[in-house]
Symmetry: C2
Subunit: 197 residues, 2 copies
C-alpha cells in the first residue's frame, strides 16, 4: 500500500456498519483532502459524543442529562409506554408525530443465535416503571422480524401479570408499497390483521 | 432532536461522500456504542493521516516521505509515465500488477463547469519531468468521461511538442460485462477500437 496511515484509516472506516472496503478507502482519501481544522473539528465532535451522551435513567433513551427530554416532558401522555429496540426507533416514531406517550428502549432484542437473552435487555426497569407508575397501556413496537416477534411474545407473557393492556403495532403492506413485491410473511400478516371498513 | 452531540456528529458524517442522512445517523449511533478507547484510536488515526501523508514531490502520489515508494523504486521502468486523475487510480492500476512504469497524478481533471482549469492541475511538473528525464511514452489513463476525455485531448496537444509517444488506455465493454447493458458511448468506443484477431 502507498501509505500506512491511509491504510489504517481505511481499516477503521471499514469497521463501521455499511461501509465496505472501497468506500472506506474513498472516505480515508476524503479525510486526507479535508482542511486540517475540519478534521480536528470532526474528531472533537466524535469524542464529545462519547463524553456527553448517556442513557436516560428512566427509559434508556439517549440523553445529555440524567433524564431524556421525552421523560422530562410533562405534557406527554404518562399512561402509555411504547417499547422499542433502539434509540433510532424513538427518533423514527417521534418524526411521525403520531405518538404522544413515553418510551422504553430495550437496547436490543432476544436473539439466541447472537447470545442475547432477556436478561441482557433493559427489561427489569420496564417492569419496575409499570409497577411504580400509572401505566395503562404498553405498546410493543419491535421490528417485525423473527427475533422482534420472539421478544414481543416474551414481553407480552411477563406483562400479563401486571394490570396493563399490552398491544402491538400493526404489520402489513407499507403505505405506498406494492403487494406484488411484498414478501410472504408480510402478506400473511396483512391478511390476518385485516380490519372492517 | 434527542441529543445535540449525536446530531452534530451525524451532520459531520453526512458531509462525507456517499453518506446520506440515515447512514450518517446510524454511524453516529455506532460511534456512541463503540468502546471509548476505540473511538480515541479512530480519531488519532484520522489526525495521523493529516499529519503524516504528503504528496510525492515528483509525481504527486501520496507518500509519507519526500518521494513515494513508486518513484523511489529503481526497478521500475523509468521510460514510461502513466498519467492518472487521482491517487486511487494509482492503487487500482497497481492492483492489476500489469503496469511497471512510473505515474503522474493530476489531482483532478479539466472541468469548466466546476471551475477547474488546466493550470489548477499538476501538469507543469509533468512537462518538467518529461523534459528532464528519459521518458519515451506517456500513457493517459484518465476516466473516460467527458471531462477525462477533454483533459486527455489537452494533454496530448501540449505533449506533442515533446519527443514522447502519447498513448491512451482502451475503453470498451468491461471484461465480464454485458453488451446488452453497456451504454451507447461505450459500445461506440468498443466498435471504433476493435482490433484484428
Amino acid at each position: 500500500m502507498l501509505s500506512k496511515s491511509i491504510e489504517k484509516l481505511a481499516n477503521e472506516f471499514n469497521k463501521l456498519p455499511g461501509i465496505g472496503k472501497k468506500s472506506a478507502l474513498r472516505l480515508a482519501f476524503h479525510i486526507l483532502e479535508m482542511d486540517n481544522e475540519d478534521v480536528i473539528k470532526f474528531t472533537k465532535i466524535m469524542l464529545d459524543v462519547k463524553e456527553n451522551v448517556k442513557r436516560c435513567s428512566i427509559c434508556g433513551n439517549i440523553s445529555e442529562e440524567e433524564n431524556c427530554v421525552i421523560c422530562e416532558n410533562e405534557e406527554r401522555d404518562n399512561e402509555t409506554i411504547c417499547v422499542v429496540e433502539d434509540v433510532r426507533d424513538v427518533i423514527a416514531m417521534e418524526k411521525s408525530g403520531m405518538y404522544k406517550g413515553h418510551y422504553h428502549v430495550l437496547h436490543g432484542k432476544i436473539s439466541p443465535l447472537n447470545g442475547v437473552e432477556a436478561s441482557d435487555l433493559n427489561i427489569d426497569s420496564l417492569i419496575e416503571r409499570i409497577n411504580k407508575s400509572n401505566i395503562k397501556e404498553v405498546i410493543l413496537a419491535l421490528n417485525p422480524d423473527l427475533e422482534g416477534e420472539m421478544t414481543s411474545l416474551y414481553l407480552s407473557k411477563i406483562l400479563k401479570e401486571n394490570d396493563v393492556q399490552v398491544t402491538k403495532i400493526a404489520s402489513g403492506i407499507p403505505m405506498g408499497g406494492n403487494i406484488e413485491y411484498a414478501d410472504m410473511a408480510t402478506i400473511i400478516s396483512a391478511i390476518e390483521n385485516r380490519k372492517k371498513f
